[in-house]
Amino acid sequence: MNSGILRQMRPTFVYALLGVVFMFVAPNVLQLFTIINLTTAIALAVLALSLALIWGYGGILCFGQVAFFGLGAYVYTISAINFGGSTWAILMSVLVTSAFAAALGYFIFYGRVSDVYLGVITLTVTLIFFSLIRRTSGPEYKIGNALLGGFNGVSSPPINLPWNTSSFLFPEQVFYVAISALILCYVFVGWLVNTKFGRVCVAIRENELRAELLGYDIRAYKLGIFTIGAGIAAIGGVLFCNGVGRITPDVFNLYNAALTIIWVIVGGRGTLIGPVGATFALFYLTSALGGQTVLNNNLVLGVILIIFVLLVPKGVAPTIIDRVNARRRKVPTRARRRRSSRAEGTQ
C-alpha cells in the first residue's frame, strides 16, 4: 500500500527534484534582483497550489482563496511585530487562517451551499476583508503593537532563523525559504491527493450523490480539504508579505480573487504542477509587460487569455499529459483525435 502511494507520487518527486535543482542553480546564474523578486512569484504559486488542491481535487470553486492568503499575511505581520520574531508568527498565521477557514467551511458545507453560490460566499468574505481593513487607517486600529494601517497597509518584518530573533534573513535568503516551502507544500499536496482521503475527495468532486450514498460524509471531507487548502494559502501569504515587504488590503480585491482562479484554469484543473507553472508564466508575462509602455497591458493580457481559452481549453498541463499519454500508448494521433471528437459530439 505504502509503496503504491510512492509509485503514484513519482511525477511529484520528479518535479520536486527539479525544484531543488533550481533552488541551488538559480542564485548562481540569475541576477540578484531576479532572485529577490522570485519570492513574490513563489508565494503566488503556493496560493495557486492551494486552490489547485481544493478546486482541482476537492471540486470546491472557491472564488475567495485570496482571503486566506491575505489573512495569513496579515496574521503573520501582526504577530511578528508583536512577538518580535517570525517563528511563532508563521505558526500562528497558519493556525488562525485554518481555524477561520474551518469556521467558514462549517458554515458553508454544513449549510449545503455549493456550486456557484459557494463561490459567491467566499468572494463576499474576501470583499468584506477588503472593506474592513481599508477602514482601519487611524491610530485607534491597533492589535498589540501593530497598527493596521488601512489602505496603506503594514510593513512586514522579515523572516528570521527559527527562535533566533536577531538574525533576520536578507531578501535573497528569503528566496531559499520560499522555494523550500513551495517544494514541501507541493510534495505534501501530491501526497495528500494520493491518500485515501484525497481519493474520496476526488470521488466527491466527480459525483457528490454517489459518494454520499456510499456512506461518506461529504461535508466533513469538503471541510477537511478546504481547511488544509486555507492553511497552505496562509503559507503563501507569509511568503508574499516577505517578498513585497508590505501587506495591503489590495490583496483582497476582486482582481486578485479572479486572478487566482485564472492561474488554476490556465494551468489545468486536476493537476498540481499546471497551476504552479501557470502562475510563474503569467507573473513573468505581466511583469515583462510592465517594462514596456507601447501597448496597453490590459489589452495584451486580455488577448492572450482569450486565445488561450479557445486553443487550450483544458489548461496547459492536462493537454501536455494527454499528448504524452497518447504517444506512449502508441495510438495513432489521427485515430485518437477522431475518437475524441466523436466523444465530444455525444456529450
Binding site: 542564485p27 548562481n28 546564474v29 540569475l30 541576477q31 540578484l32 534582483f33 531576479t34 529577490i36 523578486n37 513574490t40 511585530i81 518580535g84 472593506s131 481599508r134 477602514r135 487607517s137 487611524g138 491610530p139 503593537n145 497598527l147 494601517g149 488601512g150 489602505f151 496603506n152 497597509g153 510593513s155 518584518p157 522579515p158 530573533t165 533576520f168 536578507f170 531578501p171 535573497e172 508574499f240 517578498g243 513585497v244 515587504g245 508590505r246 495591503t248 489590495d250 505581466t286 511583469s287 509587460l289 510592465g290 517594462g291 514596456q292 509602455t293 496597453n296 497591458n297 490590459n298
Partner: protein, 391 residues
C-alpha cells in the same frame, strides 16, 4: 516595535550587496540611469499617464541640453499596473538590476511605503512627486508634492471668509483622506469655525445620494471635499444634479488633481474653489513656455496639466540641478546638494527643498528634523496626526 526592519536593512545592506554576485550589466556604461515607476494601466492610470508624459519630457529636455555632466540620461519607465507588489518588484529591478541613479516613483502612499525601504536598502535616491499627506522623514527620500497643511491652510480660511463658519467635510476613506480631514478640522477650528460632520467614502463608491440628504439636513455654509479617484467624481455630478451647487458651495484640496474638472461639465464644476501649488492657467513665463513645448510635443489631445504632472517634471529637473551641482550622479553628494536649499524655477514657480525635511517646508517640519537625525527613515503620519503627536 522592538526592532526596526529599516535600520536593520540599512545597516546590513553593504554586506548584502558585497556578498551578492554581480552578474550582467557592468557599471562601466556611461549613461546616467533615471528610473520611473508609475501606474500606466489599471485604475490609477488617470494620475499616472500625465506624470509619465512630463517625466519623458523632462528627460528629453535634459538630454537636449547636452545631458548631465556630459553624459546621456536614460529613462527606464515601468508600469506598476496599479498593483503594489509590482512597485516593490520594479524598485528592486531598477536599483539592483538597472543600477539606477535615481528612482522617481509612486502615486499612492501605499506604493511609496512599499518602495521606500527597498530603495533605502540599495542606497538609491528616491523622489516621490505626488501630493501626499505629509510626514515622510527620510534621508533617502525627497517628496516634491504639496501636503495638506500647505493646501488646507490656504483654502479653509479663504472659504470661511467668503462663505461662513459652518463646514461639512467629505473625504476619501483611506489614510490620505483621513489625515487631510484631520487638518481640515484643525484649520476650521483655528479660524473660529465649526465642523458639522465628517464623512468618509470608500474609493469605489459611486452613489452619494444619502450624503447629499445629510448635507441638506445639516445646512452647512460650505462643503469641503477631499474625495479622490474616478468613482468619486460622481459626487460633484450628483451634487449638481440635486441643484445643491447653487445653494451650498464646495471647496476642495483634491478637486482637479485627477483632472476632475474635465470629467464634469462646466456648469457642474462652476464655483468650486480648489487649492494647489500649480494650475494650468498659472500666468508666468516658465509655465507659458512649458505648456507651449508640451503642446508641440503631444498635440491637441494632451492631458490637462495638474500638480502631479508638473511636479514630476520639476522633480526630475530638481534632481538634474543637484547632479550638476554635485558634479556626480552618486547618491550622497546629490543628497547633500539637494539639501543646500537648491531651487529650480519651474512652471509652478521656484521650487526648493527644505534641508530639515527633504521636501517643501510645511507640516512635516513640526515633527521631522533630518538635520538633527540624518539617518531617519520613517513615515510619521502613517497612522494619523495623533500618532505623530500633532492634533
Amino acid at each position: 516595535m522592538n526592532f526596526s526592519r529599516r535600520s536593520f536593512l540599512a545597516g546590513s545592506s553593504a554586506l548584502a550587496l558585497s556578498s551578492a554576485p554581480i552578474i550582467g550589466r557592468a557599471q562601466g556604461s556611461d549613461k546616467i540611469i533615471f528610473a520611473s515607476i508609475l501606474d500606466l494601466s489599471g485604475g490609477l492610470d488617470i494620475y499616472g499617464a500625465p506624470m509619465a508624459e512630463t517625466t519623458k519630457m523632462a528627460i528629453d529636455d535634459i538630454n537636449a541640453a547636452g545631458g548631465l555632466l556630459g553624459r546621456e540620461v536614460e529613462l527606464k519607465l515601468y508600469d506598476a499596473q496599479s498593483t503594489i507588489q509590482f512597485y516593490t518588484q520594479y524598485a528592486t529591478q531598477a536599483a539592483a538590476g538597472d543600477r539606477a541613479h535615481t528612482v522617481h516613483a509612486g502615486i499612492t502612499s501605499a506604493s511609496r511605503e512599499a518602495i521606500r525601504p527597498t530603495l533605502a536598502r540599495f542606497k538609491t535616491l528616491y523622489f516621490y512627486n505626488t501630493q501626499y499627506e505629509g510626514g515622510v522623514c527620510d534621508y533617502n527620500t525627497f517628496c516634491t508634492g504639496s501636503t495638506p497643511a500647505q493646501t488646507v491652510a490656504k483654502v479653509v480660511p479663504y472659504a470661511m471668509n467668503k462663505w461662513g463658519k459652518k463646514v461639512y467635510i467629505v473625504a476619501a476613506d483611506y489614510n490620505y483622506g483621513q489625515i487631510t480631514a484631520q487638518w481640515m478640522q484643525r484649520f476650521v477650528k483655528e479660524n473660529g469655525g465649526e465642523t458639522l460632520d465628517v464623512e468618509f467614502f470608500p474609493l469605489d463608491v459611486t452613489n452619494f445620494g444619502p450624503t447629499i440628504n445629510k448635507i441638506q439636513t445639516a445646512k452647512p455654509d460650505f462643503v469641503i471635499s477631499a474625495l479622490v479617484g474616478g468613482a468619486h467624481v460622481s459626487f460633484y455630478r450628483q451634487y449638481a444634479a440635486a441643484g445643491m451647487n447653487k445653494e451650498i458651495p464646495i471647496a476642495s484640496t483634491t478637486f482637479g488633481v485627477g483632472n476632475e474638472q474635465t470629467l464634469i461639465s462646466a456648469e457642474e464644476g462652476d464655483g468650486i474653489i480648489a487649492s494647489y501649488s500649480y494650475f494650468e492657467g498659472a500666468n508666468n513665463p516658465a509655465n507659458t513656455e512649458f505648456l507651449a513645448r508640451l503642446d508641440a510635443r503631444l498635440g491637441a489631445g494632451r492631458p490637462v496639466m495638474n500638480e502631479l504632472a508638473v511636479r514630476s517634471y520639476e522633480g526630475a529637473m530638481l534632481w538634474a540641478e543637484a547632479v550638476k551641482m554635485a558634479g556626480t550622479p552618486d547618491r550622497d553628494p546629490v543628497i547633500e546638494a539637494l539639501r543646500t536649499g537648491l531651487s529650480y524655477n519651474g512652471p509652478s514657480g521656484a521650487v526648493a527643498v527644505d534641508a530639515q525635511t527633504a521636501q517643501p517646508p510645511a507640516d512635516t517640519q513640526l515633527v521631522c528634523d533630518l538635520v538633527a537625525n540624518p539617518n531617519q527613515s520613517t513615515f510619521l503620519f502613517e497612522n494619523g496626526l495623533a500618532a505623530a503627536g500633532i492634533k
